[in-house]
């Protein structure tokens, strides 16, 4: 019996360009007999296609299958994560600076507004009156010119945070809500696993 052991450790995440051919060397760290690993490292596993999403997940089983095809009798040991995420880089980065300026102004005004609210014991009305005075130098008890855009911004901010409307346009990253739903489902599943196990163990002891 052969006792050659091959150790694989997948990388957590890395970036790849469009149409790039991903070899084992890029995906994972290999340790084993040198003559074996040098050949295996060049072995292609996946080619990034234009129709792929922004993220590609490669499972360690894909790599094991590729190695197994060549060396069926080698003992493969995996260490670390069992999946690796490939982030496909978009072709060009554009209008980033414009976005940066917009977000900068947004955070600037937002931080100012929230700290003013804190100082005013969270009285948005007097903060609005104060901002009106701060900019124009005149007093206005009902600064609707500030408050109507504020009201619409409120809705827009929530939509932006959950990234629902621009989802197709902007990126394919999951929205926080989707991540939260996923986490909640996983917690539930974990609970079921632990809870059901306990129940069945109790039953077994009762018998």
């Amino acid at each position: 019996m052969s006792s050659i052991v091959l150790y694989i450790r997948l990388r957590q995440k890395f970036q790849a360009k469009m149409n790039e051919i991903i070899s084992i060397e890029k995906l994972a760290h290999l340790i084993g007999p040198k003559d074996m690993t040098t050949g295996l490292k060049q072995k292609p596993i996946y080619k990034v296609k234009p129709e792929d999403n922004a993220f590609i997940v490669i499972d360690v089983m894909d790599i094991i299958a590729a190695i197994y095809k060549e060396y069926p009798d080698v003992d493969i040991q995996t260490v670390g994560p069992s999946q690796t995420i490939i982030e496909v880089q978009p072709k060009k980065r554009k209008i980033n600076t414009l976005f940066f300026v917009i977000v900068w102004i947004l955070l600037f005004i937002g931080a100012g507004l929230t700290i003013m609210n804190f100082h005013e014991d969270v009285a948005m009305r007097s903060v609005h009156q104060k901002i009106y005075y701060l900019i124009t130098g005149t007093h206005n008890d009902k600064p609707l010119i500030l408050q109507i855009p504020y009201s619409f911004g409120l809705g827009l901010g929530m939509i932006l945070f959950f990234n629902h409307i621009f989802k197709k346009k902007f990126n394919e990253e999951p929205s926080p809500l989707e991540v939260e739903m996923f986490n909640y489902q996983q917690d539930l599943d974990q609970y079921v696993i632990v809870h059901e196990k306990k129940k069945s163990e109790l039953k077994r002891h009762d018998d």
């Binding site: 700290i115 109507i148 504020y150 901010g157």
Partner: protein, 139 residues
């Protein structure tokens, strides 16, 4: 003299506590990561830190001292919009942190129509806010 020094120390330590608390609050809610993720501007994150700091400092100055500029009122439209977006994101982040929506949608058994649920909250906020500023404050 002693009194002045004491006041300076008290003011400074108060500001230190509030400032660090403010930044910690923003960090917990994760608004800045969300915005950088949306706009793909991860490498500008230092700039955003300065934006928050300057905003807080200038907001403090404008709020506590009665300085004012003489600018056209039209400038207030983008300011109002930006502060609304910021507060809206805060509200959305709070809803998210509190896990309201996942549990609610699970309870009533809708998974696909969560967008409708979300739009109800969004529209409620917009119209509630409009009503508040234009009619309710007159009461």
């Amino acid at each position: 003299m002693i009194k002045d020094i004491l006041l300076i120390i008290i003011g400074f330590s108060g500001g230190l506590a509030v400032g660090s608390g403010f930044v910690a609050f923003l960090t917990v809610l994760g608004i800045i990561p969300r915005l950088t993720q949306l706009t793909k501007t991860h490498h500008f994150i230092r700039g955003y830190e300065w934006s928050v700091i300057l905003g807080a400092v200038i907001g403090t100055w404008g709020g506590l001292r009665n300085t004012h500029l003489i600018m056209p009122a039209l400038l207030l439209i983008p300011i109002g919009l930006a502060s609304g977006i910021f507060v809206g994101m805060l509200a959305a982040a709070l809803t998210e942190v509190l896990n309201v929506l996942p549990i609610l949608s699970k309870r009533i058994g809708i998974n696909e129509q969560i967008l409708v649920l979300l739009m109800a909250i969004v529209l409620g906020k917009v119209f509630g806010s409009l009503f508040h500023w234009s009619f309710f404050v007159d009461k």
